[in-house]
Symmetry: C2
Subunit: 403 residues, 2 copies
Amino acid sequence: MREASSLPSVVSDRAAKWAARRLLAALPQAPVRIALPGATVGPEHGALATLRLADRRALLELCLDPELAFGDLYSSGRLEIEGDLLGLLEASFHGTLAVGLRDRLPRRLRERALHQEPERATANARRHYDVSNDFYALWLDERMVYTCAYFPAADVTLEEAQLAKMDHVCRKVGLRPGMEVIELGSGWGALALHMARRWGVRVRAWNVSLEQVAYAREQAEKQQLADRVEFILDDWRNATGRCDALVSVGMLEHVGPRHYAELGALAARLLTPKGLALVHTIGRSAPQRLNRWIVERIFPNAHPPALSEMLRIVEPNGFAVLDVENLRRHYALTARHWFARYEANARRIEELVGKATARAWRLYLAGTVASFETASLHLYQLVFTRAANDAIPWTRAHWYAGA
Amino acid sequence: MREASSLPSVVSDRAAKWAARRLLAALPQAPVRIALPGATVGPEHGALATLRLADRRALLELCLDPELAFGDLYSSGRLEIEGDLLGLLEASFHGTLAVGLRDRLPRRLRERALHQEPERATANARRHYDVSNDFYALWLDERMVYTCAYFPAADVTLEEAQLAKMDHVCRKVGLRPGMEVIELGSGWGALALHMARRWGVRVRAWNVSLEQVAYAREQAEKQQLADRVEFILDDWRNATGRCDALVSVGMLEHVGPRHYAELGALAARLLTPKGLALVHTIGRSAPQRLNRWIVERIFPNAHPPALSEMLRIVEPNGFAVLDVENLRRHYALTARHWFARYEANARRIEELVGKATARAWRLYLAGTVASFETASLHLYQLVFTRAANDAIPWTRAHWYAGA
């Protein structure tokens, strides 16, 4: 990397303006201005936001690798966004879709990059979830549920919607008192604890995050559920035993498509003949890789799958799909709640994790809202069981009987 | 083909028994006996059924090509099944699954065989549906609905369950009075007429079967709906116009996987931006070709897709899946109703279509029951819409509000 100080002499005023205009031209649906020291480019009126760059080197970095540089420059404070952050992100997502810039690498290439071996998977998950429990507590709900909520109506609180989501999942896998449940990827333990307390089941829950498992075990003790909920600090591949219901809420994003068939084979070993399984994951309407900045800086090696990719869990392993539900709009609303809390606690978050991390996560959460609002991302709940299981519910009406 | 008369001298008693035993060994889960003139092979007690073969040539044909010969010999009466026909078929399907004989040809080979160009598709559909309306009237419900019914409870009548299915479909695509609906593959017109009458929409329905379209037009006149329901005798590929809802119930089986992306592209042209689409089809839990006898004798070129195959309608065309429901057990029950009516009308059916056709369809319907009972076949209802359509229902609760 060249030094910043050498750049002003390299990049002329004219070249800087030309580069800024090229950047703006790549975002035809997002009316924005780019402001450099001594020069501003873009519409005089009606801009959604102004991107204020600290120097010309920032402009150069943005031109060379916009996907990565945008987030990095924002995190370090060398890019400020003045104006409507959410609106800007939504417009640029819409723009990306409209101009067909979706990245569709050949499957094998795409997946090679998303290889998640156990050691690496553990390291990656820890990098994301071990930021610190206090950090997540400042913007998640009181139960620390870091997955899409389910809003029976759009005006219920986030706390109520997370409860409703957990019950929706429990209904879908047909929980009854005394059942054995296995959870793969259990976060801070909210779902496992809720299942045991409200549905009367025993749960064994796998998770590789040290911070999350410590927190979840503490909660199990506090709630006097430690005899019925076991949190196991280990990779999902090592899950053992038998269960009447298998749930995995918000883990598949970390698994990598090359391992979906393996996850399905594990489910086939764990599930009793009449057991139902549910996988809840962020996904796509068609196969596409995730934004590089998110993969490299926030969510190491994450991949939100298309439904066709998810079926590799089901189809090679003697399972049949019973139900798929797309909760995209529920995730947009969930992320709006998170972003609002994040903004309200901005000062405390910055004190806790430092300015750069705080800014990176602010951009990430705003981008999450925008991604679901613009349908760049979807949220799938997939229910499956052994193909010939006759002990399946006759209809789905009872899932909605209490509504 | 050698002449039947030359065979007794070619096939010795010992060879015939050996061949019969080999056949039985291939069906380890189905305890059956094979009876030949002068020889019986198989368990003395506890057999589900006895397969009585007219001669040794029938045995030879069964050994050489069991998949095709079983149905052909039964149709011609050279094979009689004494005992529990449904039980025998279910046991042999279970057996096939258990010993892993599922046919999984490479995708390209499989699909080459399932190529459905418009002319051929028309000829094939006509061969199936133009048997005669009177024939179908002898075993379908009063509305002539030849697709899986929806039983809100297992004890409702077939007539009620077909009504419930049509309303279930209408709810899923969010019908409201005044909407424009396009139906692709409309059978005898029951759904199109029901939509117009009960849901107050206008329907244009495409179908290539002469007999069905004639019947449906007659019904539209009788029910004074001809001004609101138009039946168009043409291939689905030629559908035109715009619609607020697109439905296709029981046509995808005839389309062939090579044409799914084309069907999706057509849907993208026909649907308004907020429109919902529903495809209802017999399917598989994993890609597999259909039994050759059914493909060659009953359902020309039919292919029940796996969900991963169906997604070629959705994923390349800017759509997102909203909902998938598997109604496998509903089809098993539907087919049981059809089979019971078929048995009750056996004599009239034989008078109408002749003995060979009557026997072929008897075997086909019994096989349909067995296929759904044993999960060799599934029934998928898939709902999709443009990926970024925000006018989607917030939850599915209202689909069950009247239940």
